[in-house]
């Protein structure tokens, strides 16, 4: 089977996991690669854990969902238990260090478990609004699925109209992306 990068992002509604997956998918698509992104969706409008399934490959991709992720990111306490089933022995599991979670609640089967202070840094150094872009940086650094440059282009494509009104926002987003990458580099 062709090498497929499988990324699963889970968090509370409003944390922006779906936008991260969508921007990454578009970045991969712009690089001319195959990408399939599907959100989990159900009857709930609010209140469930929001999960995004993203796959990127150089060849056509099979089923839109998958059993085991290469990287699984959980951004809330509930998300940690919800996504446990997608963690295998080759999975890098990333969660936010602000989540109060007992050691045994973490998926011990993972290849690596990384705790990153994404929430804290977004709040203190940047702006809570760019929290998801910081997570995107972390995913890029952990997987190398798309280049930093292509990710920036995809952000520009999506938020360019906002950047036009306030160029500082561009800088803020780019910094969030870079900080996310640094966090994983340091944690690794």
């Amino acid at each position: 089977m062709a090498k497929v990068s499988r990324i699963l992002l889970a968090g509370e509604g409003g944390q922006g996991v779906q936008s991260v997956a969508e921007i990454l998918a578009e970045a991969a698509y712009e690089e001319g690669r195959e990408a399939v992104y599907i959100p989990n969706f159900g009857v709930e409008q609010r209140g469930g854990v929001s999960i995004a399934f993203l796959q990127i490959s150089d060849e056509p991709i099979g089923s839109p969902k998958f059993n085991t992720g290469d990287i699984v990111v959980a951004l809330s306490g509930r998300a940690v238990s919800r996504v446990r089933q997608y963690v295998g022995p080759e999975t890098v599991f990333v969660y936010d260090s602000s989540i109060e979670v007992e050691r045994e609640e973490l998926p011990s089967q993972a290849k690596r478990i990384l705790a990153i202070p994404a929430v804290e840094i977004a709040k203190k150094e940047l702006h809570p609004r760019v929290f998801n872009v910081l997570i995107m940086g972390a995913v890029i650094r952990a997987t190398g699925v798309v280049s930093e440059e292509e990710a920036k282009k995809a952000i520009e494509k999506r938020l360019g109209y906002k950047f036009a009104q306030d160029p500082k926002l561009r800088e803020l987003n780019y910094r969030a992306l870079e900080r996310g990458m640094e966090l994983v580099a340091q944690a690794g």
Partner: protein, 362 residues
């Protein structure tokens, strides 16, 4: 005159529902009738956003019965009309589509399957196969394309309009919640550019001239007084359907010549099966792949040949044997063994298929 919806061709990255809306525009669909139900809602949403720009129309009805019957009304008036639904909406849709079957009306219906029975889930399944191929009171004289990728959703939605208007049988695109909601790349295009000529629509009632003098009278019926009359009608439906079946039936297959087991699936599940069969073949397993594209009519001779070559089918579907039932009917008399991998209402991955094949072949 509004311009063409798609000039030339274009690489895009979008959801399956958006793909269907673009394909219907490109195919020259003039009006969509619909009632909201997940996971097909965005077909309506995109259509209502796009249609006015290209002089097309939309009518939201009070339910799916009405959406189906108004689609019939549109077709009778000579419009390329379509609707889209899912799950319990598909159940209601069977009543109008049975009428379309009786009157040979070229309706186009897009189904995005969700989990059942009843309200089930709004997410995904392949549990609407029996209903879409054979639903309604009647003999299931309808054409059903089961798509696997966004590219196919585009290609076959365009094709469905031509199939419907050429053969005058109700035509369905059978997708699912995964295809509806996932985003992936595809190329959308102006059909003309690809050498596809769209079959023109024409009014089926209210034609010019005096009936019986200038032209044969139009006599569209769904009610018959005597058994013999209905028997004659159904006979002609069956004969016509059987005559066109070899022309309409489509399938995809590989690796059957040396196969000791053929993995048979349809729709989005065939993507996982294709990946699994490729991987297994690379690892030296003699496994073949067969995928009917049309579930109605099935490509019966090709299926029989596959059964004869492989001798054993592994039928993989997100339903409890709905595809298998169609296959068994087509293969009556064959000694091919049929093994199941059924996960009703659940997604199936290549890993699931690989594991099952290894379990069978050891």
């Amino acid at each position: 005159m509004p311009g063409k919806p798609i000039e030339g061709e274009k690489r895009v990255f979008m959801t399956g529902n958006e793909v269907v809306a673009w394909a219907a525009l490109a195919a020259g669909a003039e009006i969509m009738y619909g009632y909201p139900i997940t996971p097909q809602n965005e077909i309506m949403h995109y259509w209502t956003r796009l249609a006015p720009k290209f002089g097309r129309e939309f009518l939201q009805t009070e339910d799916e019965l009405s959406a189906g019957f108004t689609t019939i009304g549109g077709v009778l008036a000579g419009k390329k009309a379509f609707t889209a639904t899912a799950g319990p909406g598909n159940t209601l849709m069977q009543e109008p589509m049975s009428m379309a079957e009786a009157m040979r009306l070229p309706t186009v219906v897009v189904i995005q399957q969700r989990g059942g029975p009843s309200t089930g889930t709004v997410i995904y399944s392949q549990q609407e196969v029996t209903m879409t191929t054979l639903g309604g009171n009647g003999e299931g004289m309808r054409i059903v394309y089961s798509t696997a990728t966004h590219q196919e959703l585009f290609d076959y939605t365009i094709k469905a309009f031509n199939t419907a208007w050429k053969y005058r049988f109700p035509t369905f695109i059978l997708g699912d919640g995964y295809q509806a909601k996932a985003r992936e790349p595809l190329t959308i295009y102006d059909p003309e550019l690809r050498g596809i000529t769209m079959v023109p629509a024409e009014p089926l009632v209210g034609k010019p001239g005096v009936p019986g003098v200038d032209r044969p009278p139009v006599h569209l019926r769904n009610t018959y007084n005597v058994e013999e009359e209905l028997y004659e009608l159904v006979g002609s439906l069956v004969r016509d359907f059987e005559r066109i079946a070899p022309e309409v039936a489509e399938y995809e297959a590989f690796g059957l010549d040396d196969a000791v087991l053929a993995v048979v699936s349809h729709g989005v599940v065939s993507r996982a099966c294709k990946a699994a069969v490729k991987e297994l073949r690379e690892a030296g397993y003699k496994v073949g792949y067969f995928r009917p594209v049309t579930l109605r009519p099935l490509a019966v001779p090709a299926l029989q040949e596959a059964a004869q070559k492989a001798g054993r089918f592994l039928v993989v579907e997100s339903a409890q044997g709905q595809l298998a039932r169609l296959l068994k009917d087509a293969l009556y008399g064959s000694t091919a063994e049929m093994l199941p991998l059924y996960k009703p209402g659940m997604g199936i991955t290549a890993e699931d298929v690989v594991a099952r094949v290894k379990e069978i072949l050891g």
